[in-house]
């Protein structure tokens, strides 16, 4: 299996730049997510790694070898499209065998290999069935089998679960991740679903407007977002931004905002101007004593927790609090923020200000 290194990768289609100077590393055996909204360049990046598009500039290393200008067939990478792409006139066995037969592998070797893959996927009993009558899950397993059977150095997957309904997607995501854990194959996976990325990924690259916004582990990206885009895109409900005009200096551990004083992680750079105070919903506490107050707009029951939407000076925020807390729409409550988790942003550029919290994570 393989390590993939992406260096300053760029892709232009005519006047349109789909991917701008992107760099990141996929370690051997990682389940790696390319995450972003549609049109951000994630699929183009995946297609360049697979060799379905040639980069305008930049390099791609597969196990130390530069492959960016090689043909797809010479890269030893398997691409899994929407998983339902099967040959409808062939049975399951023929669908899975196809990549091997077309490579000219001997028939008994093909048989042995298909048996092995079928065992991994738990589809031994449907090998002779036509693919037409299979359930969605089985069709997906067959499509996966066709990718696995070649034993490529790495797998590229483009929104493989996108077309499935919520309940089934959850199950297939687990199955896919369990399969990865058994095989340990380097996998690059494109999705626009942040929950899917957090759930399945060892590492995540967040892309927006052709640019890599951040690259790291799911928890790092969640706790220490590099930009307002990332903070907003990751998490449900997403991070709250309280807008204010203010000032911090290097070493500040608190700041003044909307006539109140708030603790923040020790700041590492001075800043003055339009800022956003970023705080996650679960780091807000309702407290009668707190001087900073908001009016409850709505509550949403979620079983163990509830989401409370509040009107505050500088906008609207959402807090995640235990379902046992009694809150009613229309009442005014005090709010406390867990200062150690706060990220401040420069609202002009969307960039996170450096602090004790995000030290060592932010690039640039």
């Amino acid at each position: 299996m393989a390590q993939i290194v992406i260096k300053n990768l760029r892709k232009e289609f005519g006047d349109f730049t789909a991917v701008r100077e992107s760099s990141f590393t996929v370690e051997d055996g990682e389940f790696f997510m390319l995450l972003g909204p549609s049109g951000c360049g994630k699929t183009t990046t995946l297609r360049m790694i697979a060799g379905l598009e040639l980069p305008t500039s930049g390099e791609i290393y597969l196990d130390g070898e530069e492959i960016s200008q090689r043909r797809a067939s010479e890269r030893d990478i398997a691409f899994v499209f929407q998983m339902f792409a099967l040959y409808p006139h062939m049975n399951v066995r023929k669908n899975i065998s196809y990549p091997l037969v077309s490579q000219g592998m001997a028939r008994h070797a093909v048989r042995a290999k298909v048996a092995e893959v079928a065992a991994i996927l738990g589809i031994e009993d449907i090998l002779e069935r036509p693919v037409g009558g299979l359930s969605g899950g089985d069709r997906q397993r067959v499509a996966l089998g066709r990718a696995i059977v070649r034993e490529p150095k790495a797998f590229m997957m483009d929104e493989p679960l996108g077309a499935l309904d919520a309940e089934f997607r959850e199950r297939m995501a687990e199955e896919l991740r369990a399969l990865h854990d058994r095989m340990g194959a380097t996998t690059v996976y494109v999705t626009h679903d942040q929950l899917e990325a957090m759930q399945m990924g060892d590492k995540i690259v967040v892309m927006n407007n052709a640019v890599v916004e951040q690259f790291g582990t799911p928890q790092e990206i969640y706790d220490k977002p590099a930009t307002m885009f990332v903070a907003d895109f990751i998490g449900s409900p997403s991070m709250n931004f309280i807008h204010f005009h203010g000032r911090v200096s290097a070493g500040s551990t608190s700041l003044h905002m909307h006539h109140a004083e708030f603790a923040v992680p020790a700041q590492r750079e001075p800043f003055e101007g339009d800022m956003a105070f970023g705080v996650r919903p679960e780091h807000i506490r309702l407290s009668d004593a707190a001087p900073f107050r908001g009016e409850v707009v709505a509550t949403e029951y979620l079983g163990t927790t509830q989401i409370v939407t509040l009107d505050i000076p500088g906008g609207e925020i959402k807090a995640r609090v235990p379902a046992t807390t009694v809150v009613r729409a229309g009442e005014t409550v005090g709010l406390e923020f867990n200062g150690a988790t706060v990220t401040l942003f420069d609202r002009q550029t969307g960039r996170a200000l450096k602090s004790e919290l995000n030290e060592g994570v932010l690039h640039g």
Partner: protein, 330 residues
């Protein structure tokens, strides 16, 4: 607005019973969500109430009046479908006004204008009123189609998965908006979905459907905390409730099957389980465990790290018990 009562309602298509002997009351001013997987009979129930399908048996009362023999128009209900269906050549204003200008209602024009403006405010689209319907984003179009139902003052609003075609962020916004509309207008709503978040967050009452039958009806909290069966318990809660043989845990048990919500598993004492994988979702970490060959999902502190194959002791906390058939044992 009015109360809607279903009495022993049944409907079959060929040999398939789509709705079986359903009895349910939607109180005036209630927001009832029918929850169930595909094929549970949710949409058929809505269509029976609206008059788009004919009853095989039972009766439906709207505001005390038996509507069994009435046409959809006579029933005074407003329906919102999953796919927004707007008139593409009309402006947003004309789309919203359309139901009021129908020959049955014959609303005076100044009243139409006032009503359209009110609804546009509620849905936060007053600046879009003079746009063509085709110039709107998906979320705006769905808001207009909800608005087209809201301009009328029917006995009940019937909504069939109106948010399912929207992206996650917009869905979250519209959930809050629908809830606000419901409390502002004091409207009566019957809403169908397979999305448990929508059911839990918006409903005053949830009706859980299983194969055409109403199996439980109550507040979201009742359904979550006090389910009558494994089927109902599995409909609400993410990650899903763990259903395990009670014998895996020491002590006396009220039934052969134990139901543990992920947050109802205590760590540090009890039987040993093996860590399969930790999923860091940011605000919570989902821990996938193997307990004597049974998969168990629980939650843990977001910043706790677990190595695969590490072991961990777990024991039940506030368990639910079920008999062999899946019915709750109290």
């Amino acid at each position: 607005m009015a109360e809607v009562i279903l009495r022993n309602v049944s409907k079959s298509f060929g040999k398939t019973a789509a709705v079986e002997d359903m009895t349910m009351t939607v109180d005036n001013g209630a927001f009832v969500v029918l929850l169930g997987p595909t094929g549970a009979g949710k949409t058929t129930t809505l269509r029976l109430i609206s008059g788009l399908e004919k009853l095989d048996g039972g009766s439906i009362l709207i505001g005390g009046r038996d509507v069994g023999q009435e046409t959809p128009a006579q029933r005074d209900v407003a329906m919102v479908f999953q796919q927004y269906s707007l008139y593409p050549h009309m402006t947003v204003r004309d789309n919203l006004a359309f139901p009021l200008r129908s020959p049955i209602l014959k609303t005076p024009e100044e009243q139409v204008a006032r009503r359209v403006d009110e609804i546009a405010q509620t849905l936060q689209i007053p600046h879009k009123l003079d746009n063509k319907a085709t110039e709107l984003s998906g979320g705006e179009m769905q808001r207009v189609s909800i608005g087209r139902a809201l301009v009328r003052d029917p006995a009940i609003y019937l909504m069939d998965e109106p948010l399912s075609s929207l992206d996650a962020k917009l869905r979250a916004d519209l959930r809050v908006e629908l809830k606000r509309i419901h409390s502002d207008l004091g409207a009566t709503l019957l809403y169908v979905t397979h999305d448990q978040i929508e059911a839990m967050t918006m409903a005053t009452h949830v009706g859980v459907l299983e194969a055409g039958k109403l199996v439980q009806f109550g507040s979201p909290r009742d359904i979550y905390e006090d389910p009558t069966s494994i089927y109902v318990a599995s409909r609400l809660g993410l990650p899903r409730i763990n259903i395990l043989p009670s014998s895996l845990f020491a002590g006396a048990h009220k039934g052969p099957q134990i139901g543990l919500r992920p947050e109802h598993i205590r760590q540090g004492v009890g039987v040993e389980a093996r860590v399969i994988r930790a999923e860091h979702l940011g605000d919570q970490t989902r821990l996938h465990l193997d307990l004597n060959g049974h998969a168990v999902t629980t939650l843990s502190d977001p910043h706790q790290d677990y190595e695969p194959n590490a072991t961990l002791k777990i024991s039940p906390e506030n368990p639910l018990y079920f008999d062999a058939s899946g019915a709750r044992v109290v």
